[in-house]
């Protein structure tokens, strides 16, 4: 894997004029342009970014640099970027050029970040392996040391964002997480992936999948880098009615603060029932690494874990079927002709959506249709409250919850054909999403095949600052970063 360069060290190098903004961009652009792992749907060239690079360099020259000035970032192709094609990795949006910038990417631009390109992802963010993209699968830069020619999935849906950071074509990237789409690929690519509390980062301008679950967040080489990005993107926005207006912390400040009081971390025994010894070892290693601190680990048990995936696979497709009703071939996107208006709708949608997206629209339509709404959708929303209450009960006993991020290491492209087997990948991340809690995946070690594995740390609502502080400590103690 390429050498990891932190945002703070790069900002320092730029300040001290050891490297120019242009040189830094070129260094990452060169790797991105090769697109060896298909991590990008679009790579922006230095000519396109010329004025942004010049302005950024000028700020450094004047000593007035912004927090992310000149830092090359990858952006999941789900964020609308003004004047830059935004496809959601779908055929139906393959020609869409947004006339506006998403709130989150605008914050990054306001802080001086430079975009390298748009990262490949699962179509409309529906997938856990990045194989559903209209533009082909993303390849995990990590190889199985016992079978190095095999092409492995990077996870999904933010698979391109994760592979891009791992291959060294950007310093950090933006993903979105609906049921695990930041944490799971981060884990399979040996990176840090943060899904903030629902409502922390505005959904405005993010192509919608499931609006009560979608949340933007960073995929980074380190916890400190995640804090840099979160400082930029976590803000209230009037354009998203679910955006929270609680006061934000400075997530970077005191990130390495020493623990000054005892903390309790809960480990849910029900999460570890059917996992391999290798996955259990990740939890054990993490526990061991923290042995010298005033941290107590306690067993906790959830009552709703067995129902979380079912709840998710009703609510997320239901919301998706409603959100994706807007793709009709009339106002934007790809139109397929037809004899009348209805035929245009039918032809454009049928030809524009891939198999997995079609499947989820059908599930969503079914569970919302007359006669089934109460039995499925309404019941799922009620169980969702039980899941949230279950977490709140556990959080009365503990400060954080530690789980594996994924039940397995990165698997082969084309290996998982059964949709339900694929959905099981998100078994540890989905409950957190349903409860709207913040979760972070941290690299915790390597499998016997030399592939990265991760642990997930879950905090209570809007406790990102404490979550990042503890994550920073775990990262240091596990010293996975060489």
């Amino acid at each position: 894997m390429p050498k990891k360069q932190s945002i703070s060290s790069l900002v320092n190098s730029l300040k001290e004029k050891k490297i120019s903004v242009h040189e830094l961009f070129d260094q990452f652009h060169k790797v991105a342009k090769e697109n060896a792992n298909n991590s990008y749907n679009l790579v922006l060239d230095p000519d396109y970014q010329k004025s942004n690079l010049e302005i950024s360099q000028e700020r450094y020259s004047n000593g007035k640099n912004l927090p992310l000035d000149g830092i090359p970032l990858g952006i999941k192709d789900l964020f609308c970027t003004k004047g830059i094609t935004t496809t959601a990795s779908s055929k139906i949006l393959s020609n869409f050029i947004p006339q506006y910038e998403s709130f989150v990417t605008q914050q990054l631009l306001n802080d001086g970040a430079i975009f390298i390109g748009k990262n490949n992802c699962d179509e409309f963010a529906m997938g856990s392996s990045n194989e559903t993209s209209h533009f082909g699968p993303v390849v995990n830069p990590w190889k199985n040391k016992n079978s190095p020619t095999e092409k492995l999935v990077p996870g999904g849906s933010s698979g391109g964002s994760a592979a891009a950071v791992a291959e060294g074509s950007c310093v950090a990237s933006m993903g979105t997480d609906t049921g695990g789409s930041i944490r799971q690929p981060a884990s399979l690519c040996g990176l840090v992936g943060l899904k903030p509390t629902f409502g922390s980062c505005s959904r405005w301008g993010i192509v919608a999948f499931a609006s009560s679950l979608d949340q933007a967040g960073p995929i980074t080489n380190s916890v400190e880098d995640a804090a840099y990005i979160l400082n930029s993107i976590s803000k209230h926005d009037f354009n998203d009615s679910t955006s929270s207006n609680h006061p934000r912390d400075d997530y970077l400040k005191e990130i390495d603060k020493k623990l000054d009081h005892k903390i309790k971390i809960g480990i849910p025994s029900d999460y570890l029932k059917n996992v391999t010894p290798e996955i259990i070892a990740q939890i054990e290693n993490t526990k061991k690494s923290l042995a010298g601190y005033d941290i107590e680990f306690v067993d906790v048990a959830f009552e709703t874990t067995d129902y979380a995936l079912s709840t998710y696979y009703i609510i997320a497709p239901a919301e998706a079927s409603s959100n994706l009703a807007r793709y009709d071939g009339i106002r934007y996107g790809v139109r397929e002709e037809g004899g009348n208006l209805d035929d245009i709708y039918l032809n454009s949608r049928t030809s524009g959506f891939g198999d997995e997206v079609t499947r989820r629209i059908l599930i969503g339509t079914y569970v919302l249709s007359a006669g089934y709404y109460d039995a499925y959708y309404r019941q799922a929303q009620k169980v969702r409250r039980l899941i949230k209450d279950d977490f709140q009960r556990v959080f009365q006993e503990v400060d954080f919850i530690l789980t594996p991020t994924t039940p397995n290491e990165a698997f082969k492209i084309g290996e998982k054909l059964d949709p339900i087997a694929m959905y099981m990948n998100d078994v540890f991340t989905v409950p957190t999403s349903l409860a709207g809690l913040p979760g972070i995946s941290l690299p915790s070690g390597l499998s016997a095949n030399g592939l990265p594995l991760g642990v997930q740390l879950i905090g209570n609502y809007f406790q990102e600052k404490k979550l990042l502080q503890l994550s920073h400590l775990i990262e240091k103690e596990l010293s996975f970063n060489e």
Binding site: Y313, I330, Y332, L341, T350, R359, Q381, Y461
Partner: protein, 93 residues
């Protein structure tokens, strides 16, 4: 579980599944609906549905006029346009 009428569901979703794929989607739907059926076991008679996890109150902005989204920028993405309109086949006789 009763049969799923895949033709009706796909029409409601404004999708026209090719006939050779109807069985594929139909079976897939049956499998997934069976898989999520375990939710029916839970007694939720006293539970309120949860729509917004943080259950925060919506904040309301000032009603100030902002100028964004020019007609031209919006229509640039239209598959077909006529002057300042999206163009579609005739819908009224």
């Amino acid at each position: 579980m009763s049969e799923i009428d895949i033709k009706r569901i796909s029409y409601l979703a404004k999708l026209k599944l090719p006939s050779e794929k109807e069985e594929f989607y139909s079976q897939s739907l049956v499998d997934i609906i069976q898989w999520v059926d375990n939710l029916k076991k839970i007694d939720t008679s006293n539970v309120k549905p949860l729509h917004n996890v943080t259950e925060a109150t919506v904040s309301i902005r000032n009603d100030d006029i902002e100028k964004n989204n020019s007609t031209e920028d919006v229509l640039n993405n239209a598959p077909e346009r006529a002057q300042n309109f999206f163009k579609v086949p005739k819908v009224v006789e």
